[in-house]
Amino acid sequence: MSMAEQRIATTKVAGTWAWFFQRLSAVLLVVFLAIHIYADHFMDLDDKTPGDQLITFDEVSIRLDQLLYIVVDYGMLSMVLLHGLNGLRTVMFDFDMFVKRKKMVDVGLWVLGIATLIWGIVILLPFISG
């Protein structure tokens, strides 16, 4: 099988929706990451001098009083999980791993993703209320 044929074959295993959502989440991640990197790692640097603690609970809390940052943080977390776990699934199928256990892989990854998302949502709550 040529490399191109191999690619088509594995895309068939992973499915068209997996292909589509991998691209959709990629585009959204570029947008979220741009906001995240600027807001969290550059915006407040002007007020800092070398030696200051760069990220503090109080500053993060102030940011998370604004709906924009809550949407960006939770949106980015969900897209990272979707993109990461979906990518892992595609790579597994590329290497012919668990292809016969596709249903089990799908259920397992969904459970892992949703559990991690809930964990992440809970972790940010003290910042939002604090």
Binding site: F42, P50, Q53, L54, I55, F57, P126, F127, G130
Partner: protein, 85 residues
Amino acid sequence: MSEDGADFDALMKATSKPLLVAMDFLLVVVVIYHAMNGFRVVLFDMGIGIRRQKLVFWICMAVSAVMIVAGIWALWEFIFTSGGG
């Protein structure tokens, strides 16, 4: 400050150790490479540049290199003198 706040600030201080800052840099490098390589793949999905794959590859890698250098440049003074986060 709340207990959560004190814990978080202590964690952020711990992550400013040189080894972890080095790992942050590695993260920046791999994320930029991954994003630009993904962009290249999406271009080919849309049928753009199929006949110029080598050129597209090197353009994407050149853009990656510029972005990585810009990131290092912007944070340079904080890397070696930072007290936290």
